[in-house]
Amino acid sequence: MSSAPLQDPVVTKETAGQPWGIAAIFDSPAKIMHAAEATRAAGYRWFDCHVPFPVHGLDWAMGVKHTILPVIVFFGGLTGLLLAIVLQVFTNSIEVDLWAIVPVVGYQFEVSGKPLISAPAFVPVAFELTVLLSALTTVGGMLLLNKLPCLYHPVLKSRHLKRITDDRFVLVIESSDPAFTRADTRAFLSSLEPESIVELEA
């Protein structure tokens, strides 16, 4: 917001060989938004934006698809519900021989002739387990889809990108992108008027 973009951004090279990717550092959400749109329009696909907080609309500008997480969570919740029903019916009422040999007996509390399988009484635990498994799936699924915990990443390694979690907005184009060539990509990123450019070491 404060500093005007440099005409000719400083390029820092962290590696002599082929870099893992090239990062362009911006100082405002508006600039990273434009940069992401331009990068996508230029045909790059293997790029990412690293931002201190979710910049609204940036994911769509980057072409990120809707996450499948809610669907996974639905099945997590369903599992919890079924688990709760099976658990309660099994432990409080069932009396069967599994495969005709293994006796499976629940603990049957006979209280004033009340039914052993009592749907209203089973609702609270069913609800709680549904919520519990949904929540665990939400967090577990989010971490798994994001490939976290992540022990190593070039972006984390670079000492020039420490301010991502503070106030800088960084666009990284990876060298694995088919459209990536070191000189052209660097020139392209320069044209976006970033604060500076860093070639990242793998």
């Binding site: 994911d59 980057m62 603990y107 635990v125 939400t138």
Partner: protein, 481 residues
């Protein structure tokens, strides 16, 4: 930037043509980061922290000693008797669980309602929730008498072929409270991951970098990650919302499902939930007011935030007052001899003093928040919040003890008198709560740094240029977090 013109730490003026700023005194992200991280990065915390910590640890040690005494001697060291079997442990349990409600209410329900002012207080309140639920969980745990059999609470396969009774509200409680604790913890932790990464990247020592690095899971602020993260946060909020309402409902079932006069009423679940939110917000105020003074967080927890909380206290306090009145009305209207007696006895019987403490703290005290001057006075709010905390403890005492001590037959009536062990255990639980809370303030991000940046005007990617230069904004119909 309009926010800079506002009198610091007040931020209460109403301007109809613009939204009130949520953060004052900042228009840059880096100063926000620095100001919040200062709480953790200061070489030494304020002196008050050491004093508070010393007191808390002393109380915590007392708790340890009395719990050990309890374990080695038996529950006879408490005042619990026949007929007042529940006594202090259940009173304290309900008290602490109630306090634990504000955190998830703020983080989940206010989130779904797009109440962005929650960003400054949610981390705080969530931490408070978790520590309160830990304190709550302590009491039923030590109340069962033979603590070494505490695992019987859970459906664990065993050689006796015994299983818990799933038609009992006490077992529902086990599931409700443990689910609530787990989900609150997840919510708290997930919210903290980006802020832990901030602390990691700013760490000045190896140990800090490793510790924060470990818990931030290698978060690197990737927008592809944020996309799923935001969706996960929304899902958690949606899941936690019915959960908040369910937990104290289930706690109220412990009472309502029994046959005892004064307990066996249908008003209990909503009445308990309102009371829980009421007490939780009071505790947030009790903790937030000194914390914002000591650590200089007045630019984030502004007077407007405190005023909003005072309004919620007024609302829920009035709901609680309505419930007290309605209980009496139904007791009279039902024509039920025992029910009528239970309520007249509550107000004018042997525990009448407790009833009137409860009414004055919970119904009368919050009414002062009708006045703007009271909602904007730190001291009035702080003292009122203390009164509410006291009142809500007495509410649980009144409900639990009066109904048990005087039920149907006068021949089985009794009198509950707490012992010194009861009192020390209760005070000790405050030691546990405050110790955890003070450690949290010292070592973890006290405010949701990333979220706060997200609600600043500067965070809007369209800020500063009015030329709608063609890039469409598909987020407008999208859920924004």
């Amino acid at each position: 930037m309009t926010s800079l013109n506002v009198e610091p730490a007040m931020n209460v003026d109403e301007a109809p043509d613009e939204r009130a700023p949520l953060v004052i005194g900042h228009d840059r992200f880096d100063t926000v980061t620095a100001e919040i991280c200062r709480v953790n990065e200061a070489k030494k915390p304020p002196k008050a922290w050491y004093i508070a910590m010393a007191m808390s640890v002393a109380l915590l040690s007392c708790l340890g000693v009395v719990v050990l005494y309890l374990f080695t001697t038996g529950v006879g060291v408490w005042g619990n008797n026949n007929p007042a079997m529940w006594g202090f442990p259940i009173v304290n349990f309900v008290f602490w669980v109630g306090i634990g409600h504000a955190g998830t209410l703020i983080s989940a329900i206010l989130f779904l309602f797009r109440q962005k002012w929650r960003t400054s207080i949610n981390r705080f309140a969530e931490a408070m929730t978790i520590f309160a639920v830990i304190c709550a969980g302590l009491f039923p745990g030590i109340h069962i008498g033979r603590v070494w059999l505490a695992y019987w609470l859970f459906p664990i396969p065993n050689q006796m072929d015994m299983w818990p009774q799933f038609r009992s509200p006490l077992l529902w409680d086990v599931f409700a409270v443990s689910t609530y604790f787990t989900v609150s913890l997840l919510f708290w932790y997930v919210g903290m991951i980006p802020d832990l990464a901030t602390l990691r990247d700013r760490a000045t020592s190896k140990i800090k970098a490793i510790c924060y690095g470990f818990f931030s899971l290698g978060w690197r602020g990737s927008m592809r990650h944020w996309h799923r993260y935001e969706r996960a946060y929304l899902l958690l909020a949606a899941l936690a919302t019915p959960l908040v309402l369910s937990v104290h409902s289930v706690v109220s079932f412990d009472f309502a499902v029994s046959q005892l006069p004064g307990w066996h009423t249908t008003i209990f679940p909503p009445y308990f939930v309102a009371g829980a939110i009421f007490s939780g917000f009071a505790m947030v105020l009790t903790l937030a007011i000194p914390a914002r003074e000591l650590w200089g967080l007045k630019n984030f927890i502004t007077m407007r935030h405190l005023e909003n909380m005072a309004k919620i206290i007024l609302l829920t306090g009035s709901m609680v007052g309505y419930a007290y009145g309605m209980e009496f009305f139904i007791a009279w209207y039902s024509g039920e001899l025992y029910e009528s007696f239970a309520f007249v006895n509550r107000a004018f019987g042997q525990y009448g003093w407790a009833y009137w403490i409860m009414v004055s703290c919970n119904v009368i005290t919050p009414q002062i928040f009708w006045f703007k001057a009271c909602r904007r006075s730190i001291w009035v709010m702080f003292i009122a919040s203390l009164f509410v905390n006291v009142g809500m403890w007495f509410e649980r005492f009144v409900i639990t003890v009066t109904s048990l001590a005087n039920d149907f037959l006068p021949s089985s009536w009794g009198w509950f008198q707490p012992t010194w062990v009861d009192f020390v255990t209760f005070l000790g639980s405050f030691g546990l709560f405050m110790t955890l809370f003070l450690l949290f303030i010292r070592f973890l991000p006290v405010l949701a740094i990333a979220e706060i940046k997200g609600v600043m005007p500067a965070a809007d990617p369209h800020a500063g240029h009015d030329d709608h230069d063609g890039h469409d904004d598909p987020t407008s119909q999208e859920v924004q977090a």
